[in-house]
């Protein structure tokens, strides 16, 4: 049995009066890829953003229950939320680089941590860029605007930027959702290699991608976890009819039955 990295217990989330996540109980194993699937609007993004406490920025967001990373409950008073977000990195569906140079984008996480040593900065961003397989494409263009890169390159740069602070967990919200097949393949390879160093939690709308990449799969519908298991089990012998319907495509992305 693999070590558990993220343990979510009886977690609920509300935006204002709307109950978004309902009694979530979930385990995410260390150094494994866990895919989160489910119809549009079911709360996948909200779940991911609960793990790095990004939901707190939404006005009127409340929660109950606990989320443990390792042995630490992340809502505990005294938790350094900024450190948490460096240890639990996030990559979004659309690349969201700053309109600044490639170098400044990569150096941002270090600069806000107060790192001044130029050699250390260049060492760390080089390592992250190499891991994200973007290094060869950007090493001679460090001072060019990051937004001049292609969308696929931008997304790999976002991944590199997320890796600069050497996170333990990386949350990926449809990381290939806005990319062409070639860029998608590149990023899938990256994600697969990331398992060595960290725990990956990935939202995807692409069932093939979930099946290809992930070790575990969580199926969510209308804010509740319907089923969680190893990916092979979920895709071959789902226990719940809804899961089966969703995976086989009988229930579409909007949760409607065909």
């Amino acid at each position: 049995m693999k070590e558990i990295k993220i343990q979510i217990n009886d977690f609920n989330l509300w935006y204002g009066g709307r109950h978004i996540l309902k009694d979530i109980n979930l385990q995410v194993k260390a150094n494994r890829i866990t895919a989160v699937i489910g119809p549009s609007g079911c709360g996948k993004t909200s779940l991911l953003r609960s793990v790095n406490r990004l939901n707190e920025l939404i006005r009127g967001a409340r929660h109950s229950g606990e989320i443990l990373i390792g042995a630490d409950e992340i809502h505990e008073p005294g938790t350094d939320v900024y450190l948490l977000r460096k240890k639990v990195a996030m990559v979004f569906q659309k690349p969201n680089l700053f309109p600044d140079t490639i170098f400044e984008n990569l150096a941002f996480p270090l600069k806000i941590s107060g790192v001044k040593d130029k050699e250390l900065i260049s060492e760390k961003i080089t390592a992250a860029a190499v891991k994200s397989e973007i290094w060869n494409e950007v090493k001679d263009r460090m001072n060019e605007p990051a937004l001049n890169l292609s969308v696929g390159q931008q997304q790999r740069l976002c991944i590199a930027r997320a890796l600069v602070s050497e996170p333990e967990i990386i949350l990926m919200d449809e990381p290939t959702g806005s990319l062409d097949p070639v860029s998608t393949a590149k990023i899938e390879n990256l994600i697969y290699d990331m398992k060595k160093d960290m725990t990956v939690m990935m939202v995807t709308h692409n069932m093939n991608q979930a099946g290809r990449l992930s070790d575990y799969t969580v199926f969510i519908a209308q804010g509740s976890v319907i089923e969680q298991n190893s990916t092979s089990r979920i895709f071959t012998t789902p226990q719940n009819k809804k899961t089966e319907g969703f995976i086989s495509g009988k229930i579409n992305l909007f949760g409607e039955e065909k």
Partner: protein, 317 residues
Amino acid sequence: MKMLSRFSGLFAGRWGQAYAGFSVFILIAVLAVLLFNVVYNGTQVISGSFSKGEFFTAGDKAGMLYAIIGTLALTLFTVVLMVPSGVLFAVYLAEYAPDNYFTAFLKLLIANLAGVPSIVLGMFGLGFFVFFLGDFTDNLLGLKNVFGKPSILWAAVTLAFLNLPTVILTSYESLKNIPESVRLSAYSLGATREQMFFRTLLPQARPGIITGIILAVARTMGETAPILFLGVVFFMPEIPVTEISFGLFPVPLINPLEQFMALPYTIFILATQSTVPGENVNIEYMPTLILLLLTIAANLLAIKFRYRYEKAIGKLR
């Protein structure tokens, strides 16, 4: 979109296009005549006054130097009062103010302040700043007629109020126009609110904020009505200078508690109250040209910054 399509429908068809073309033609023609007129006559008068050595003298001999200095000093004092407070207020509104009725009320107030006629604000400046605040300060300090009279200071305070809405609203808009994803991106990397603001929002909003400031400055330089009550004069024998000492170095500074000359007022007087009819009939072209050049310079700067801002924001969309 609906509005737009209905509007553009107006310009469809042959007659519509002819109408639009005619409008553009009229606009450009009027601008060209204005520019040519001011530049041609202005350069004539300026070169004349230079050759007669009158440019640097004061008064109706057309010495413009004191009026230029007065306008620049007034603008400088106004900027010092208006820019920090305006930008900080915009930052508060955009980033910190809670989303409630009071904030909505504040925004409404600012939008309304932008609509107050400048002459009304000038009267308010005389009544409130000069007669109330000025006299009050004098009494407090045991002085007589130091603060309680029209001067650069109160003119600058009034002009700052007049143009504050421009600074606030443009700064507010440029902050609010930055997509939410930029904020989220910074936060997700572990930035604090201050780091997010100073390292990502401010650099992106800066060209937009500066555009607003420059437009406000250009308007400040040209403002005539409010300063009528607030210490502008047509003639001064010399510029009031006081020396303020910073440690060992005495720095000469224009005394903000004195009256001043200003280009727009000089234009007004020269154009309406010529003392020697016929002789100085064209002299007002000189301050007009100078003022026009100053405002055009400010606007060109603004256009340059706007361009940079659009480029920075455009790529995010």
